[in-house]
Structure formats: C-alpha cells, structure tokens
Symmetry: C3
Subunit: 458 residues, 3 copies
C-alpha cells in the first residue's frame, strides 16, 4: 500500500492547498477542444509530469468523426452606444459561445437577441455553452445583464479564428513491470470552469506525480484530452493497443463539496468496479455507486460496444444535477482543498488495490495452520481476537487460488489495506504463495521471485 502510505505521510491540508493552487493557475485560460488554450494548459501540466503532446491535423478521419478546424480567440465584446463593454470576454471567457465564428458588426438589440444565451432561473450566473460542430456565434451573459440592455444599436466583436489547424492532447505514460495498463483520462477542454474539469486535471497530475516516484506492477497512462473528440481521436490512433488497458478511470468533477459518485463501467463487474466500490465504502465520505449509462463523460467512448473497456467514472456531484453545472458559479470557490485532497486519496487507494490485488494459495489448507507458534496469534485464550488476527484468518481461509484479496476484503468487511498487510505477513511466514495470474502478475513475479509452486495439495 505504497501510495496510500506516501499520501498519509504528507499533510492532507497542504496537499489540498497545493491542488487548489494549481487549479487557480489553470482557471483563467480560455480552453476549447482545439487551440492555444488547451496547448497552454498541457504545457503547465508538463512542468510537473512527463507529457507527450500530440497534434492531429484538422480533417483527420477518426472513426465516424472528423477532427474539426482549430479555434482560437483573442477578444470578444458587446459595446453599447456609449462605447461601454456591456459583455466582455476579457472579464470572463465564458462570455463567448465557445467555438464562435468571427463577427464584427453593429446591430440592434433585436438582431442581437438570438445570439444571447442566459439562464433565467439563476439570473446572476453566466452559462457555459458551445457550438463545436455547427458554425455559429453567440454571447453568454447573466440574465440580469441581458435585462439591463436597452434598445439601441450595439457594436459586436468576436475576434476569433476558425481554420485548418490541429487537435492537441497530452499523454503521460509511466511504464511499470508489465505493459498492461491502467488508463486515467480527464477532459481538458473546458474554459473557466473549476470543478468541470480543473478538479480532474489537478488530481490526475498529482496522482501521476505520486506514482512516478516508485516501481509499480502496471503501466499507467494518463490522458489529458478534449472531451468526446479527443477520446475518439486517441482511440482511433491507438485502436490496436487498447487490449492492454486492464483498468480505467475517467476523473471529472471531483472537487466540489458533495460526496462521491462512481459510475460503473459498461461491463459492470470489472475489477475497477469492485475496487472502487470497496474504496468508497471505506473512504470516510458518503458515496453512491451508479450503474453504467451511455451519456456522461469520455467513458461513453471507452465503453462503446466495440471497445467495452473496463473504464468507470469517478465524480463527486453528478454533472447536470447541481445548479452550478456549466455556469460561472462553477468557479474556484466551488471546489475545496479538502475534497480535492480526498479525491486524490481515493485515487491512491485504487492504485494500491490494483497493484496489490492477487490470488494466493494457502499452503496449509487442511485446518488452520497454528499461528501461535509463529507469533501470529494472541497468547491468552478466551478473549476476543484483534482485527489483524481476524484478517489473517480471512486470508488463510479464502486463499484457495480462487478468491482475490479484494474478494476477501469485501467478504470480510475489512479494508483492503488490512487484508493486503495480512497476506504480506503470511507470505513472509511461508504460509501463502501467489497464484500465477494475468500478465502483470507474472512479470511482477519474475522480479520478486514470488511464483506459486503448483503442488497438488488435496
């Protein structure tokens, strides 16, 4: 349980503050699914972890889709007759409909109105809206701002470009003992929205930093990509290699004050699904497990029926269910250092489970081995046993080559870390031996010499 230990040795409050600070540095950038905003974001992540940047040209066919034109923007505003910017992109980049085509015109309020997007129910908030795949332009503003606009002519300017260019994404591969992979994916295309998804970006970056400090059984691949088209592009370019992905997680909206929600992979019974259910049950916060559904984040693509990868999605409040979603109220106050830190802690727990989840075989399967003579039991009978001894009994009884440590943790109700520590101790005492499992196990075994002697023990 290396990662969790490392995490716990640090100051959780300091971790939270650091995560929030990084989010606040990324916040002002006007990101979109292409362009310099996401490039600048990836460059800032690359200062912390090794990141390979890919640039995919406009027009590239990716399955049923085509990489769109690249969008960039310098300025945008609506000026009233007096020359005052009543809507100003410089104040908040949400003010422009993302992917707006360039405009420079003077028009009446009546002509302008179809291009103004507001939220009547939250009259002080500015909505976040996009028009990636249909050329259009518009402004997002608060409902009160719109109500205050008087009849008359307005100068309208969107100083953007939409032309041949590239789609950009970043990839951080941390090779492990095996080339079997754990995929961590987060979308990096939203402009000034904090929970959605600076929270995912900063936690994923910190997780990669934690992981890069030591050895691991799996290889870890972190994707920082534009939503939907980025995942589709990556999958199209890596079609042949997706079989290596044994576990995966989409991280998004993991900074707000709500409890956790984990949306299961389409498979529904993947190891990542069981691991996450276990980790959340023991995380000390309220949590809920949701069945897979085809709408959501990039798990939509990873879990499309042709791929059907074991990829779930970790969230706190679920997109679309809280009013701040896709509005200016999803700002830096909406995400909390404490929640960011605990989200990272859950991710570290998951990594530790995946790294240590093995099947073992009890080498003394007939009756209990005598733990007392190995100093693994209490000495005075009649009293209750400790959790540690209980964990040993669980591991011994269910290490029949069929049950994984995660299975045993679930059946026992004990945290995985307790069960894994018991297994370690019992293995060191010569009572357990690992069963050869999937490729990642075998490679790890060659390194540690931890190979099961397949003895006929019945």
């Amino acid at each position: 349980m290396r990662l969790l230990t490392e995490f716990q040795e640090k100051d959780a409050a300091a971790i939270g503050k650091e995560l929030h600070l990084f989010a606040s540095q990324l916040y002002p950038i006007c990101r979109s699914i292409t362009g310099d905003g996401i490039r600048r974001t990836l460059a800032m992540i690359a200062e912390r972890i090794p990141l390979r940047i890919s640039e995919v040209p406009t027009g590239t066919e990716v399955f049923d889709w085509t990489v769109p034109k690249e969008w960039n923007i310098r300025d945008a505003y609506i000026k009233d007759a007096g020359g005052t910017r009543v809507v100003d992109f410089q104040r908040l980049n949400l003010h422009v409909l993302n992917y707006s085509t360039p405009v420079r015109a003077t028009m009446s309020l009546g002509e302008l109105r179809p291009h103004l997007l507001t939220i009547a129910e939250h009259p002080d908030w500015i909505p976040y809206r996009t028009s990636y795949y249909k050329e259009s332009w518009g402004f997002c503003l608060s409902h009160n701002q719109m109500l205050a606009m008087k009849d008359g002519d307005y100068e309208v300017c969107i100083d953007s470009t939409l032309r041949e260019g590239h789609l950009t994404y970043g990839e951080c591969l941390l090779p492990g003992a095996s080339d079997e992979e754990v995929l961590i994916s987060c979308h990096a295309c939203h402009p000034s929205l904090a929970n959605d998804n600076l929270s995912g970006l900063v936690v994923a970056t910190a997780l990669a930093e934690l992981l890069s400090g030591g050895e691991h059984r799996y290889s870890y691949r972190f994707l920082f990509i534009p939503g939907t088209i980025g995942a589709i592009t990556w999958l199209a370019r890596n079609h042949g290699g997706v079989g290596r992905i044994k576990h995966g997680l989409v991280l998004s909206g993991i900074g707000d004050a709500g409890g956790f929600h984990y949306k299961k992979s389409r498979q529904g019974n993947a190891e990542i699904d069981a691991a996450m259910a276990h980790a959340l049950r023991h995380c000390g916060e309220p949590s809920e497990i949701l069945e897979f559904s085809p709408y959501g984040y990039d798990e939509r693509q990873y879990c499309s029926p042709g791929f059907n990868l074991p990829v779930g999605c970790l969230m706190r409040s679920v997109w679309g269910t809280f009013p701040e979603y896709h509005t200016s109220a999803d700002n830096l106050d909406f995400i909390k250092p404490k929640q960011l830190a605990n989200s990272l802690r859950v991710c570290a727990t998951i990594v530790d489970i995946l790294e240590n989840n093995r099947r073992y075989r009890n080498l003394n399967p007939y009756c209990e081995p005598q733990l007392g003579k190995r100093d693994l039991y209490r000495s005075t009978g009649g009293e209750d046993i400790s959790t540690d001894i209980n964990a040993r009994l669980w591991v011994l009884n269910f290490s029949d080559g069929q049950h994984s440590l995660l299975d045993i943790a679930e059946r026992s109700g004990l945290p995985f870390s307790t069960i894994a520590s018991a297994a370690d101790l019992l293995r060191q005492s010569g009572l357990l031996v690992a069963v050869p499992g999937q490729k990642a196990d075998q490679v790890a075994d060659q390194i540690t010499g931890n190979i099961a002697e397949v003895t006929s023990f019945r």
Copy 2:
C-alpha cells in the same frame, strides 16, 4: 407501436363503455363448462372476431381426464307451501349449484338443508358453487334468504339435463408473418359473474379486433374455453403444436377497480414476464408482480411441468383475496369501464413489445457515431440532452447483438415505446441493423428486407 397508437387515437372512455356494454350483454347467460350457455357466449363473440368452434364428445380421454357429460338447465326453484318461488334460477342463475343433476321433489326444510349453500359472512350475497365431477344437486342463496325459510315442506325443482354431449370451445387464430404464436387464453365457463371472467372475455375479444386490423410478426391465438377441462382438452388435442407458442397470457379478473397483478410463468424469466413487468411499471396504475404458483387459472395447465410454456396470468384483484370473489357481488357494478379500457391498453402494450422486441447491432460500434451530422443530436453543447437523444445513446451503446430492445428499455428506465422509436430512427439512418433471431424475426425480415449483414466488426 402500432396497437398502442391505434388505441390512443380512440377515446378511452368510449372504449371502456363499449367493453362494459358487451359484458352486460353476456352477463345473463347461464354458462358452465359444457352446454348451451357457453355455445351462446361463443356465438356472440363470433359476431365480432373470426372464431372456430370445436365440439369434443363426452367421454373423450384428455390426458388424465375425461370430457364430462354435457349439462343444460332450463329452470330451477324452491317453492314454499304457498307456491312462492323463494329461490328462483330465473332471477339469477347463480342460485343453482352449477352442474346440478335434475331434481323434482317435495321435502322438508330439514331434508333440503344439506343442499343449501350460503355465505354467513356476507348474508346478502349468493355464492357461486359447482359440482362438475361429483354428481350432486344444490341451491345457492343468500344467508338471509335461508334464515327466512320457515319449517315446512318445499317443492324443489331443478329442470336440468346431464347426458352424453359435447364440450365446446372457441378459437380465434390471426395468422402473422411467422407461425410462431402468442397465446391469449380466457375461461368462458362462469355464469353471471362479471369480473370472473366476462372482463377477460371482452378484453380478449377487443384485443383480437384491434389486432385483426393489420399485419403482425407473430400469429395470435385466442382461446375462449371452459376452465381447467377446456385447457386440458385443448392441450391434449394440440399437443404437437404447443412448441409454436412463444409467449402466452391468461386474462382473468381484469375489470375491477384494483391495481394490476401479474403472475409470472413457471419459467419466471420468459420474455412475456419481462415484457409484462415493464409494461406494468409504465402503465400509470399500481401493480405487483407475483411469482408463479401452481394454483390459479389455466396457467396451471399451460405451466404444468411437461409443457412449461411461457404463459403468465394478468389479473387486477387476485382471485380469492376480495370478498366479492365467486359471489353475486361480482356483478356488472363490480367492473368498471375505465379499468376494462386500461386493461386492454396494457394488452396492446404487450403486443407492441412482443412485436417490436429485437436485438440490433450498432454498425459503428467503435466510439459513438456522430449523431450531430445526421441531425440526431442537439446543436448547442453545454445543455442537457433530451429523452429522445438519451434513448438513441442507450440503443447505440447496447445494440451489441446481445441486448434486446426490452433489455435496453429496462436498463435505461425509459418506456419500451421510446426505445423502439429510437431504434427505428437509427435503423433508418443506417446506424443499426437487426440481428437474425428466432423464426418470427426471420420471416419478418424477409418481408422488410431488414437482415443483418453479418460482418466481422471487431
């Protein structure tokens, strides 16, 4: 969803009134498991739908049973000393123990008493009782009627005949594209009882009328039969053909004001069981799903272990659980136009589900297809998607050749009709293709040209 659409185009209140009217026309007839009462009933049904009448001679061996003698009755009464009919079959045919042998005698109240059947708990109601398989005679009367009978001699007359004859049943076969069948069965042997089972007769008749107006994938067979012995006789004479029955439903007691109860087939996981659970969940009335049990209506025979057909039973209030059951209180006031109409609507929903439930294959299984370029998506991003778009995503994601539309409807929580419409649209857009399934599918496919190209798509 042809039937539901047809149903919804009509006026539900008018449908209910018409169903109730037909029930009221059938109500006065003294039916039994044989004889002219059931013949007259079938003749009235035959005025509305094509009905083949079968006459099976007394003495015919049907599995472990024998077709009984035919019973007919003209009159029955108990006259007091003053010549007044104190119990009169002409007033209500329930007054005679059904299948009573002929009697003509004068006897004291003491001698008569063992032949008088009442319900003490409901002293104004007349019970419905039968003695099909043991020759006997008796009168059913209200408890108060009996208490009012003074000592003295009574003239007792049952002008019935019980002799060699026939057992009669009616069958309406509506051929579909395939000879695979949906069986709808209802018992037609009860005399003046409205819910049990004029409700089943009139709804089944109306369903056959609805169906006969158009094409369908399955063949539909409606049975109007005497309970128990009728089902046994039909099964014995059609033993070789029951393999064609892919889905079946017994309809009985579907006119009272209670919510729905569906008793699952013995198989418990048949398509009809899933279809009915789905339909009832979305029917707008309270409903409950009951496990199969071997006592009940003719599903007892269809679900006997040698046949084990996928036949469930749709009811409203469950037989034996409401006081009016098998009494004169189960009269025309006990059944309601509104409930009759909604029962027909549920049956139409079931037909539509069975007709349209298919497995499809998404022809773009890698990532989502781009719905936007086909005008199947919203144009402005950032807002929530509609139910229709959500249904498309569900159909695309789970159309892997394994999940039926009903499976998808259940997983999504959306009504089958919404899912089926989405599948239609996607199929028309070239994104889906039907997977060759059971025989009914294949025949339908030859008609529509809707055959899956079996391409290796992985």
Copy 3:
C-alpha cells in the same frame, strides 16, 4: 417426519427440564482440552448413547499442530496472610487460568498481580481464560475480589500437572441405510460454562438418543471433542473419510434466551444451509442467518479451504456479542429449559429435512392429474382449496426431477413437513416417483423399492 413427530408426542417442558438437569450434572466438572475433566464428561454422555472414546498421545503430529501435554488439576488457591483462601478453585474452577503450570510460592501482591485476570466492566464476574499453547500460570477472579486484596504476602498454590499424556474425544456413530454421513460436532473442553458449551453437549446427546430409536437414511456421527485441537486431531486421523460427510452442524451456545443464529458453511449454498434457513423461518422464534466467517467454533476447521465441508454452526446468542460470554455469568441460570428444548426441536427438524429431502418426478407431467377422482381434491368447486391440496399442487408442478422437496417448500412458503407429507401421499397414489439421487438415496431406494422408472416422458 419421524423425529419431529416423536418430539411432538413428548412434553416439551419435560424435555427442557431433562436437558437442563443433565447440564447441571456436567456443570461442576473442570474440563480442559485434555485431562480427566473431559474424560469424566464423556463417560457421563456414554451412559446415554453409544460412545467410542479415543485417546491420542501427546506429541502426535496433526497437520500443522502437535497434540499438547495433558493437563490435570486437583486444587488451586491464593491464601492471604491470615490463611484465608481469597481465591479458591474449589469454589469455581474458572478461578484458575486453564492449563496453568504448577506453582507453589509465597509472593507479594505486586509480584502476584501480573498473574491476576479480571473484567473491570463487570466487577462481580470471573473471567474464563486459557493458556494452552504457552506455558504460564494465573488466576481469574472478580474485579472486586482483586480490589479487596491488601498489600502483603500471599501463598499461591496451583496443584496441577502438565505432562505427557493423551488428548481424549468421544464419537457416536449411528449407522444408517447409507454410509453417507451427517456430522454433529460440539466442543466439550470448557469448564463451568453453561451455554458454552454444555448446551451443545446436552442437545447433541439428546438428538443422538432420539435418532437411535429408529431407521434412517444417513449415518449420523456425533463428535464430542476439545475445541480447535480436537477437531484438527479428528480431521487428521479421518482425513480419508471426510468425503462421506454430506451435511454437518456445529452446535454451541444454544441454551440462552436469545433467538437463533445460523452461520452458513463456507460453501454458503449447501443443502444444510438451505435446510437450516427453512427450519429457522418456521421455528416460531426470531432467527438470523449469518454469512460464513473464518473465526468461530470448529466450523473453522471443517470449513478450512482444503476440506471445505458443508458444515454450518447453530447458535443462539453469538459468541463474543453478549457480556456473559466466557465469564462466570454463563452459568446454569443463563441457560433455559424452554430454549434447550426448542434447540433440540430445530435439530430434529433438520434431521427430518435431510432424511426426507428428495427429488421426485411427476408421472403425469402434462396438465394436472385429476386429483378429484383419487379423492385428493375438494368436491365442491368455487371455494378455496386447503393447504394440503395446495401442497399437492406444488409438489406435482415442481416435481420435474430438478426441484427437491426443500426447493419446493421454499418456493411455496409452506413448511417442509407439509410438502413432504404431500409427496408421500402422491407417491402412494402412483403419481410421483423418486429420482435416483446421491448414494444415500439409492441405498434407501433399494430398501423401499422406491426407484424411478426412467421413462422418456417428453
């Protein structure tokens, strides 16, 4: 349902009194995992049922364990300066740490204190503690006793021996028609503790008495053994024969006033697990089914992964969850005649279920057979059917060679005894035939001539 019938013919209150009386006779003996205490206990059991006593020498290797030295004790006390026994083994044998090595010394209270064991939370109770596998000595006393001990010198005496000897256990085998076995195991090593486990000893003894009065399909093996080391020793010496154990039960703590708890076997879906869940649901007392866990009584050994026998554990209050556990408060007042008798009744129910649980085949699988002509149905139709008739319909419908009578009892919600009686009657009427099952069935069939003609009936 022979045993239950025999049980019900007796006076439950008298049975309870008799069970409690036997417990009170066993109570004063100072038992341990070896020595004369358990020998005397077994001798008293042997006066009631045939018991084979085994003596296994100290030093015998049993799997990972070694049979320990034999412990015997004559006296033990702590005398104060005035010569008064302030702690006295003669008053209650719990006062000595079980397996204490001999001591004879005078020492100050300060030196003595590390050897004094108390329970601060229950200052009037004396704890029960042991030190089987680490040589040590000590006294158990009430916390108040200890507080009352004044500074000064004390004379300490434990007149025990710990030397080469034997481990003793008792075994009662009641041969049945088959050599397939039901194992009933209870630990006999605790000194003056009533619920744990005189309750198990007296109920098991009475069950063996009940069983020895007649014929049975299975062989029954009762083990009266020292906990842990006794089960391990028995398993080591009978390794080759454990495959004969088809069902098993550990009995312990079944005399207190709490409801029942049944801890499932490690298999979790063994017939004994289903039988016990059924029996407890119908036993008229509150009950709870617990999942298997590796800590507990000797099911720990029977359910170790190498054996994985279908052995569960029947308790009332669960060890460790009630304050009296392993203290002097688990005395003869803590166990109740009524609860002891009902525990025996549950055991008798289980035996009856195991003895009578079979799969049958309905010889008239097509439609219902006509029960009326065999006088197995009501004669007047229209009324509800009785439970007995209902049970017949359940048995007929589900006797397809797949469902056992216990399966049918569970599905129907009827008690096993009602279902088994219905099956008996139907078999006698020629409507059912038993399906050849496991060995115990076949042997029983040779005796009764109850063999299924395997006719192709479909």
